[in-house]
């Protein structure tokens, strides 16, 4: 009886330790594919081309990462709300999905150092005459649910005590609503705003200025306990900047001044 308990304990222990040996980084290299969660209605970070294939900054970033690991990349489209379940269930290895690195979320998933930084911009429907962030007071404003800017904007609307805040589930719906006049203005990342206005598909909207929110740093994410992989990802992000690839991709998809990924006066 006692021996069997002991034997079982030993077996369990070996099972546990042997599990700990092969971590996710090993698994990815062994399997030969890197599966990235990417949001595909978030141009220029992720979108679809005319033949409905995935393209964008995040898509390229995933491909680079796969190349560094010596494996092939697989883009798994995930709507914003689906990013985390996809990771948890092991359907994807890494999220390359413009995910803001909030402390609240870091309780659930493991965040890397920032790989991209968004400035927040106000985009308004021309008919409303909104010319700045302050003009949005008392108007109907919206943003993509759960994003950094949505949380900040909703708080601001509550502070103003006037107007209405509406979260939409996708960035595309926000701009659709804005161009239809359902929303008077939106706060989104300036890259996304510029990219959407530039397409010319949404007549009557324009970017009118910056929102006074902090810079939104977004990180790659994976399971919280996968330190080996997170370590690798951190170095990878560092190398992307060092080798100039970050600038190159920024120029390709966004253009203009490249935002710094470093925060002044503090280490990460």
């Amino acid at each position: 009886m006692k021996t069997s308990v002991l034997a079982f304990g030993l077996m369990a222990a070996t099972a546990l330790t042997s599990q700990a040996h092969a971590d996710k980084l090993d698994d990815i290299i062994a399997s030969g594919t890197l599966r990235c969660a990417v949001v595909l209605d978030f141009p220029p970070m992720g979108s679809r081309d005319a033949s409905n294939n995935p393209i964008g900054f995040d898509v390229d970033y995933c491909n680079d990462l796969a190349k560094a690991l010596g494996v092939t990349a697989e883009i798994v489209e995930t709507p914003f709300p689906e990013r985390i379940p996809a990771l948890m269930s092991g359907r994807v290895d890494v999220g390359v999905a413009s995910t803001s690195d909030t402390l609240e979320r870091a309780k659930t998933v493991g965040m890397t150092v920032p790989y991209f930084a968004f400035q927040m911009a106000v985009t308004s429907n021309d008919k409303t005459g909104i010319k700045s962030f302050e003009d949005m007071k008392g108007k109907v404003v919206g943003a993509t649910a759960g994003t950094y800017e949505a949380i900040a904007l909703e708080k601001q609307v509550k502070e103003w005590g006037a107007g209405e805040f509406r979260p939409y589930q996708t960035q595309a719906d926000v701009f659709l609503a804005l161009s239809q006049g359902q929303l008077d203005a939106t706060v989104s990342t300036s890259t996304v705003a510029q990219a959407n206005v530039k397409t010319g598909k949404f007549p009557g909207i324009s970017v009118v200025g910056n929102a006074p929110f902090d810079i939104d740093y977004v990180a790659l994410f994976t399971n919280r306990e996968e330190y080996g992989l997170i370590n690798y990802l951190n170095l990878f992000i560092n190398q992307q900047v060092r080798t100039g690839r970050y600038n190159e991709l920024y120029e390709k998809w966004v253009g203009g001044e490249v935002p710094s990924l470093a925060v002044n006066g503090v280490y990460r």
């Binding site: 659930t108 759960g146 659709l176 239809q180 006049g181």
Partner: protein
């Protein structure tokens, strides 16, 4: 076992917020039911009227409402109408979408219920000097509502379940909207949605029970 630690404590802190959302859910469901019922009665009258235009309109409404997804109807109410410059707030769009759906299904229920009422009764009413509208209102409708009450209760439960689709059109005050926002903020999907599921279940059961008690009092012979 799961390699996942549940954070129930944190999730339960949001319970008051979610219960507020549940109230909004109930409110939309009730309103959509009242509006849907009124439209369904009108559609039933249209169908009975013998006027081909009105009858065709009613049939088209019922067919579209029953043969396209509710999510599609709500999406249409918001973004489809938005195309014409008709701007409905998420609350109204959701209400319109569900009321449209309710009206279609209820009208079909009424049609079934009408079959159970012999036509001779209407004729009897008419021969007593009632107008056809009076005959419908005073003789047919009370019986029709009685027969259709149970299916209508089911529709009410459906309406409650349908309110959860509001998140797709920017609704953030109903139960599903509140839940989704909490989820997006913390990524604790399972905890928040499990609580939401329990609340939905309780609401649905409460409504069914209330309807049963109501029916027992109203429809005693």
């Amino acid at each position: 076992m799961f390699n996942y630690t549940f954070h129930w404590n944190q999730a339960l802190k949001a319970l008051p917020q979610m219960l507020d959302g549940a109230l909004v859910t109930l409110q939309i469901a009730l309103l959509s039911m009242i509006i849907g019922m009124a439209i369904a009665i009108a559609l039933t009258l249209f169908r009975l009227s013998g006027n081909r235009l009105l009858g065709g309109f009613a049939t088209a409404w019922v067919e579209v409402a029953r043969n396209t997804p509710a999510l599609f109807q709500i999406y249409m109410a918001h973004f489809g109408l938005g195309n014409f410059g008709i701007h409905l707030s998420p609350f109204v769009a959701l209400l319109v979408g569900i009321a449209f759906n309710n009206a279609g299904y209820l009208a079909e229920n009424f049609r079934g219920a009408l079959k159970a009422i012999p036509e001779t009764q209407t004729r009897a009413g008419r021969s007593l000097g009632m107008t056809s509208l009076q005959a419908f209102r005073l003789i047919v409708m009370p019986q029709m509502l009685r027969v259709a009450f149970l299916p209508a209760t089911n529709q009410m439960v459906w309406a409650i379940l349908m309110t959860s689709l509001g998140v797709t059109v920017g609704m953030n005050t109903d139960l599903a909207g509140v839940t989704q926002e909490l989820n997006a903020r913390s990524f604790r999907t399972f905890e928040f949605f499990a609580i939401a599921a329990v609340i939905y279940y309780v609401i649905a059961k409460a409504v069914t029970l209330a309807a049963r008690v109501f029916a027992a009092r109203m429809f005693r012979y």
